[in-house]
Symmetry: C2
Subunit: 203 residues, 2 copies
DNA sequence: AGCTTAACTAACCAAGCGGTCAGGACTCAA
DNA sequence: TTGAGTCCTGACCGCTTGGTTAGTTAAGCT
């Protein structure tokens, strides 16, 4: 993974500790948000001293940034795989919705990390992270390709992409708040809504 | 407004100071979120001492809670008025979308207060605030009424309501992030999407 | 004039924050 | 045996946080 700033390679212990520290940070964020992930609490959960945490990471921000990037990378990878398998733009939309909702259903911690993390300016600036603009661009591009190929009717792809992402996020947060809410039927419904709203007539 | 805990009525000065303190808190939250609204900063902005702030409010939480409820009440009032004027369920959906987006376009500070405030558990618990469940219920009821009257086709009103609210929120946050993004056309598009997705065929 | 009350300030407090530092314990090559 | 390097601790630092307290000032009532 991310190498040290000087070219030196990582020890076995160091690698293990870093993973452990990151895992503890993930848990704490998942429980009560980023504000809950203090150095003291991370150290306590890892059964090491606060200074040990800072021995393995330069500062607290590096930990949070690492947590955010790793979470984001995992989701992005799943998304890329699902999208590459889609046969048509309407298929890609369905795959996009299903993949995101499935991820969010399976990784409730990840949702919190991404939502709060991407909203925080200082955590995102200076990194090569895919921020909100890049997120809706993916969807807008799918819509645009579908419009050119004739499967989608004419509409504002930008707004459509934003709305679709917002709907997905809303379903995710409803899942977190209400355990009885079934994600799969909801995803099906959303795909249905989206297709009805965007497909060219007679498609 | 909210009276004192003991039956005593408010002084002119006290009322004015409370309003001033709340206004300062609103500004600070609008600028950099709730974490930015510390007692010291509120006091500094109001040109009074920290102790003076706590002279008028029992504690910091009371301030934040008051800010949130007032913001929420204002929006709820606008919403109720718009909905009561709607002639049909599809009209009501359109009114709902337009009112919310217009409010968010006109009160960027309010958006931040509501989003972050309603997400915070400790700020909402113990109050009679309309939380997320109550929010989608309004929309779900409109859909349900429209289904009974035949204007809407059959679908999961719960999921539809959640998706619609999510789409509205997403448009709002896009507006905040991108000043060039025009809210009115976006609202029009969203109403169009929603109607296409939900209206009964031939309607 | 004397007393009360509203409205406020300056100083202070304990707790928690991110972060530093000197040094201890251990391993291992020279 | 020694010295370097790894891994970690406990004590400490400066700072900010929400909140308290004692005391001051001005206005208003009797």
């Amino acid at each position: 993974m991310t190498p040290t700033r000087d070219g030196r390679k990582r020890t076995f212990v160091e690698e293990a500790r870093r993973r452990q520290i990151l895992a503890c940070a993930v848990d704490l964020i998942a429980e009560h948000g980023y504000a809950n992930a203090t150095l003291a609490r991370i150290a306590e959960r890892a059964h090491i001293s606060k200074a040990a945490v800072l021995y393995h990471f330069d500062n607290k921000e590096e930990i949070l940034r690492q947590v955010l990037t790793e979470t984001l990378d995992e989701l992005t990878a799943q998304l890329a795989e699902a999208l590459s398998a889609a046969a048509s733009p309407p298929d890609a939309i369905a795959a996009y919705v299903h993949t995101l909702i499935a991820y969010m259903a399976g990784h409730p911690a990840g949702v919190r990390i991404l939502v709060e993390g991407l909203a925080s300016t200082e955590l995102v600036t200076g990194t090569n992270m895919r921020t909100q603009p890049e997120r809706w661009r993916i969807v807008a591009d799918i819509f645009a390709r579908g419009q050119q190929s004739g499967s989608f009717r004419d509409f504002d792809t930008h707004t459509a992409a934003i709305c679709l992402n917002g709907a997905i996020d809303a379903i995710a947060s409803e899942m977190l708040a209400n355990p009885d809410y079934a994600p799969l039927p909801a995803a099906e419904s959303l795909v249905d809504f989206t297709h009805r709203a965007t497909l060219a007539t007679g498609y």
